[in-house]
Amino acid sequence: MFRTRNASRCIPALAAALALAGCGSSPQKNIESVHSLAAEGALLAQQSERGDATAIFVRVHAGYLKEEVDTLQGALAAEHELRAARVASAVSRDLERLRHGGAVSDDLERLAEQAERLAK
């Protein structure tokens, strides 16, 4: 009986812990994610500028990168990490230009380096 009651109490707690796993992110982690997305965006932009990727792939994948950056930008602004939020905003603008064929690899590399410095 005691074991059953304990197990009944444990299950909701475990379910909550599982649901929350992967949800929480610190400001540090968010800035590192901005660096990662900017670096990946730079790589994608280089392939686009060389003509080594299809326009559809670049548009769709840059779109997903931008969505994630926009989420991080909002989180960083809410955490008062204003410099990091400005970098994220600049990355988002470049990714939007990349979606429409813009040449932004150098700018995204620079922004990735900026985000990496902020993360350290």
């Binding site: 475990l14 992967g22 982690k29 990662s36 080594d52 792939f57 769709v60 994948h61 994630e68």
Partner: protein, 408 residues
């Protein structure tokens, strides 16, 4: 000659069908996070799936009954029901992840709306299962999945530090974040040894009417097919380690996986990677869907089998259709397929003992197996792997919580 041809075809299908969305996600993430340090874990996982799929195939061939049927009879209704519920839950999560993954790849190829392409993916998979005979499902999706060999070429072209790659096959952990390392090790093992693979394999053996004369073919398919399939996993990890780790890129999207083939090989590499991922994931979706239908039908004693017409196995047919519809519903909620993949792999790890213990017991049962019962080598491997499976099953969920879902 015919036999050799048959073996070759089976091996090719096994190679192309080895990788599913769990392998794609975990191998690329592991490479981008730890470089080549976890290559040894892939070897452990590949040997594990070889050991158990060979056992499964032997059980099904000799007893003429698929594994789930034997599980119910050997372990009793109660335990069998528990195994069924756990495996169906994991099957459904995995199926939804594969369907979502296929829709994402279609979007990267065609540029159309993701939700519309979920419908296309579901209808396409449903038609493939309805129309294609069993052998042709394996061949079409297995052969086109071979496009993933582009990652092997890409890995070589990236000129990784081959000394460091070789060192990756020796167990070691050169990291401060041992919990995250352990999480990825668990995920890689889970991705290599997902339960639906052995249930599907054993049902397929019965569908194709294998006899004890085919046990050699069973062993060849398992060892060579899965062994070479493991090379694809190595290639994914090496590519990510060479390309993404130095740049600090954390893979979060299916497109990131394809980009890893695009960088060294250009547009042709990108297209081949996307086609390979589409058919590998699509093939895995079909395997998972049919595996779920096989399990339910075998547990309740219904008529089952792809070789039967739909009218001759109505509840089996309805089962796989219901699973596809449920998966469709899950993916249409907008849940991220990559995140769903991680959850499905980790939960399948927890279910591994329920899958593999009955197989080990039945393969050791002389009443079922006669002279084809497990020998000393099979038992030694089986027991070692069962111990490994128990350790990873117990640690999987705590590691997922402690590492914040693998984000560190």
């Amino acid at each position: 000659m015919n036999k050799i041809f048959q073996i070759a075809l089976g091996i090719l299908a096994a190679i192309g069908g080895f990788v599913d969305i769990g392998d794609l996600v975990f191998n690329v993430e592991a490479g981008a996070t730890f470089g080549y340090q976890l290559l040894w874990v892939v070897v452990v996982g590949v040997v594990g799936i070889i050991v158990y799929s060979e056992m499964c195939g032997r059980v099904a061939t000799v007893s003429k009954r698929p594994v789930f049927d034997a599980v119910r009879e050997r372990m009793g209704f109660g335990v069998g029901a528990g195994v069924l519920i756990a495996s169906e839950f994991v099957n459904l999560m995995t199926l939804a992840a594969e369907v979502g993954g296929a829709a994402l790849v279609l979007q990267l190829l065609a540029g159309l709306s993701y939700r519309g392409l979920i419908v296309v993916a579901i209808v396409g998979l449903g038609l493939a299962v309805w129309v294609l005979p069993f052998e042709w499902i394996e061949r079409v999706f297995g052969y086109l999945g071979l496009c993933l060999l582009v990652f092997v070429v890409g890995a070589i072209k990236l000129h990784p530090d081959w000394g460091a790659v070789g060192h990756g096959f020796v167990p070691h952990a050169d990291t401060d974040d041992f919990l995250l390392y352990a999480y990825f090790a668990v995920g890689l093992l889970g991705a290599a040894m997902t339960p639906y693979e052995v249930y599907f394999y054993s049902s397929g053996v019965v569908e194709e009417g294998w006899t004890p004369k085919d046990l050699g073919l069973n062993r060849a398919n398992s060892m060579i097919g899965y062994g070479l399939g493991g090379v694809l996993s190595f290639a994914l990890m090496i590519t990510a380690g060479a390309l993404y780790l130095p740049k600090g890129i954390e893979p979060q999207f299916i497109g990131t996986v394809a980009l890893a083939a695009d960088v060294p090989l250009g547009t042709i590499g990108l297209i081949l990677a996307l086609i390979g991922i589409l058919f590998a994931v699509g093939g895995a979706a079909i395997d998972t869907c049919l595996s779920g239908a096989y399990n339910v039908s075998q547990f309740f004693g219904w008529e089952w089998g792809k070789h039967r017409r739909a009218a001759a196995a109505p509840r089996f047919t309805l089962s796989w259709i219901v699973l596809l519809v449920l998966a469709f519903g899950i993916v249409m909620t907008g849940i991220d397929p990559v995140m769903l993949t991680e959850y499905s792999v980790i939960f399948s790890v927890v279910a591994l003992p329920l899958t593999y213990l009955p197989i080990l017991l039945v393969a050791n049962d002389k009443a079922y197996m006669g002279r084809h019962v497990n020998g000393r080598i099979a038992n030694a491997f089986g027991l070692v792997y069962f111990a490994i499976i128990m350790i990873v099953a117990v640690t999987a969920i705590p590691l997922m919580i402690l590492t914040n879902g693998g984000t560190g």
